[in-house]
């Protein structure tokens, strides 16, 4: 029986004569951190989109918790969180309000929601920025904000596309620690990255060519 949380079997994406993703297979278990590496255009983002159900495969399959990936299934949306495509942030809500809105969408307006928001702001070093609007953030701060929006919600699988983008070395280290801590609670993390520190922290590496 397949015990993997998320997996792909000969997943392939082609548009006309162009191959976006060569046949790729892997299976990640609960609590594992996987890094997808490879040069630009090797198919890292394409694989993440396919795993998130945002892209139809030309051949092969992707599975989440033993079932074909289908983001239209509420149970699968409960399992999967992703920062692969840009999030349409609200320009008229502050950082803290937007993070708390995501938390409230899972835990309601009670104390648990507030605690999770505070914890996330603390863990990603966003406390000083909590009352800022998105246009008042730098590129690196926006990246941390995007990560907070994804990490504040519960998930069994996290898909991240270059989570280290625009971050300095100190924040990249903090991010790596945070992701490892998430895996210790049973979350599977799949991250496409060019950052050696994240690759070092990973349990497995999938090199795409």
């Amino acid at each position: 029986m397949d015990e993997s949380t998320i997996s792909s079997h000969e997943a392939t994406v082609q548009i006309g004569d162009t191959t976006l993703l060569r046949p790729t297979s892997f299976a990640a278990l609960a609590g594992e951190l996987w890094c997808l590496t490879g040069p630009n255009g090797s198919g890292k983002t394409t694989l993440l989109r396919a795993l998130g159900g945002r892209l139809t495969l030309t051949a092969g399959s992707c599975h989440l918790a033993g079932r074909p990936v289908d983001p239209n299934q509420p149970s699968q949306r409960r399992l999967l969180a992703a920062l692969v495509e840009p999030i349409p942030v609200a320009r008229d809500l502050t950082v803290a309000e937007q993070i708390s809105m995501v938390a409230a969408s899972w835990f309601g307006g009670g104390s648990e929601s507030r605690e999770r928001t505070s914890t996330m702001l603390e863990e990603l070093g966003l406390n000083d920025l909590r009352d800022r609007f998105p246009h008042e953030l730098s590129a690196g701060q926006l990246q941390l904000f995007g990560l907070a929006l994804v990490l504040v919600r519960p998930s069994d699988v996290l898909l991240l596309d270059e989570p280290e983008r625009h971050l300095d070395s100190a924040r990249t280290d903090r991010l790596a620690e945070l992701l490892v801590r998430r895996t210790q609670t049973g979350t599977t993390v799949i991250a496409a990255t060019h950052e050696p520190r994240l690759v070092e922290a990973a349990h497995h590496r999938l090199a795409l060519v």
Binding site: P74, A81, I87, A90, A104, W106, F107, G108, G109
Partner: protein, 534 residues
């Protein structure tokens, strides 16, 4: 996990709280602006309409009012379906939609309450307007039976309109077209058989002496059945909502709101232009040369067939109504002829959008840095042949159709005379000139934002509003001026308006119009120095 309802409520509460940021002074200023606009525009229009409605009820025969009332109801329903295709009730802030779509909640749990709230709001607006119109014509505000049936009928009409709005947003084009055809059939039923499925129209048609008989009550029951059916279809549409489509529409609407808020409403409307498709090689001949300007215009129109169809329908209807309006105004006075004429002019202006795509190209050709390099001139011919030809053909068809309509309705015996025909042609010319002015719009001029200090406060907002709708205003003012002018002086007035529109339109591309005219005449590749030497 917390209950679904509580989670959704919490999300909307956080979103609503952001509205509390505005200062009391800022909110009061918003209320003041709305009150000012209402006092300047809405109240005078309302008084005028109320006065005319009573006249219509007293003077018009039942046989004339029934088709008009039924057409209004059908237009309301079909309009709601079309509106839904562009801006439906489930358009919401993109971030809120993203947050809710990312949860494990089934979409109907968070979409239903939004849809219900907005449909109820829209239904109430339609109900209020319909009741005021009906009772304004009947003058039966004191008749309890008439008021109750009017309100019930208007409410059901509003519910159907609200449901159509949702169906228009969520269902496929085929389903929307089928729903529209079915509702059109319901409206037409009242004309061809002895059934009264729209009692509001029946009461309106009875003019100043309405009576609630068994036929009206039976019609109310029939309308309730139609409302239940359409309401069920709308409810079912929520189950079939496509998350990706909702996200796309919400993002587009958010962009459009930003454009509107920053004074470039034309850019907001541009977001809703359909994407061209098909006929990829139709603009080139077999030997690789470009086809002529007429073929160019036809192919570009056919690449967006739905828009072209609506545009053609608007041009035909507009030309017909303008012709009817000019002929009718020569035979009678009152709101009817003027409204028909104005509606016709506005429809021609709106319908000219699909034939004036080439003027957008002209604007870009003149405004943006040269891309294609020098080539022989003829830009004026390239950019005017198709719009003029298309409007000429549709104008002639509309003018011919107006003969039939005028004969059938007996509004003006013998069809439009020479004077009316000249006025109709001038109306089309003005509408095209106004369209040119609108299509040449680029950025909001900074000077538009400078304060206009008056005893009523800063009225620069009204000037921005006028700039945003300058084409429409030009058409309406021109029709008003033409209404009091003779055909001879009308030609001079229209020549002046059209010339002004042309001049202002060219000025909008930030260059001296004379230099531009020379540029249109000579090689487009000439340098500015060569042009200034000319």
């Amino acid at each position: 996990m917390t209950a679904a309802g509580e989670r959704i409520t919490a999300v909307w509460q956080i979103h609503r709280r952001r509205d509390g940021r505005g200062s009391p002074g800022g909110r009061a200023y918003g209320v003041y602006l709305i009150a000012l606009a209402a006092a300047l525009y809405v109240v005078p229009a309302g008084v005028l309409v109320a006065r005319e409605l009573g006249t219509i009820g007293r003077q018009t025969a039942e046989s004339d009012l029934r088709p008009v009332a039924l057409a209004c109801v059908a237009a309301c329903w079909l309009g709601a379906l079309v509106l839904g295709r562009f801006w439906g009730p489930l358009v919401m802030p993109p971030f809120v939609l993203h947050v809710l779509q990312s949860t494990d909640l089934p979409p109907p749990t968070y979409l239903t309450r939004v849809a219900r709230r907005r449909i109820i709001g829209a239904s109430l607006v339609v109900t209020l307007l319909a009741v005021l119109l009906a009772l304004g014509i009947n003058r039966a505000f004191g008749r309890i039976d008439v008021v109750v049936v009017s309100v019930a009928s208007a409410l059901l009409t509003g519910v159907i309109a609200g449901s159509c709005w949702l169906i228009g947003q969520l269902r496929s084009g085929l389903v929307v077209a089928t729903t529209g055809a079915a509702l059109l059939a319901v409206s037409a039923t009242a004309l061809v058989v002895d059934l009264q499925p729209i009692p509001l129209a029946t009461l309106v048609a009875q003019g100043a002496s309405p009576s609630v008989g068994s036929d009206v009550l039976l019609g109310l029951a029939q309308l309730a059945a139609v409302a239940a059916l359409v309401g069920w279809a709308a409810h079912r549409a929520i189950m079939l909502a496509s998350p990706d489509r909702l996200a796309r529409e919400s993002t587009r609407a958010a962009q459009a709101l930003v454009f509107t808020g920053t004074g470039t409403f034309h850019d907001a409307l541009a977001l809703y232009r359909p994407r061209p498709a098909g006929l990829r090689h139709a603009l080139l001949r077999h030997d690789g040369r470009l086809r002529g300007p007429v073929a160019h215009g036809v192919v570009r129109a056919l690449r967006t067939p739905v828009r072209a169809g609506f545009g053609l329908a608007c041009l035909l209807a507009g030309s017909t109504l303008a012709s009817v309006g000019t002929a009718w105004s020569g035979a009678a006075d009152g709101l009817g002829p003027t409204s028909t004429w104005t509606a016709g002019a506005v429809l021609v202006y709106l319908g000219a959008g699909w034939i004036s795509e080439t003027w957008r190209s002209l604007r870009d050709e003149l405004y943006l840095p040269a891309l294609l390099g020098g080539r022989d001139g003829g830009a004026a011919v390239r950019h005017t042949t198709w719009p003029i030809l298309a409007s000429l053909v549709t104008g002639l068809v509309g003018w011919s159709a107006s003969h039939v309509l005028l004969e059938a309705t007996d509004l003006a015996r013998g069809g439009p005379d020479v004077a009316a025909s000249v006025l109709m042609a001038l109306t089309v010319v003005v509408a095209l000139a106004a369209r040119f002015l609108r299509e040449m719009k680029v950025q909001l001029p900074v000077e538009t934002l400078t304060p206009i200090v008056t005893p009523f406060g800063d009225l620069s907002g009204l000037r921005v509003l006028a700039w945003q709708f300058d084409g429409l205003l030009t058409v309406m003012v021109s029709v008003a001026v033409l209404g009091v002018a003779t055909p001879g002086s009308g030609v001079i007035v229209v020549a002046a308006i059209a010339g002004t529109c042309l001049w202002w339109g060219l000025e909008r591309v930030d260059r001296a119009p004379w230099a531009l005219l020379l540029r249109l005449r000579y090689r487009t590749g000439r340098t500015d120095r060569e042009i200034s030497r000319c």
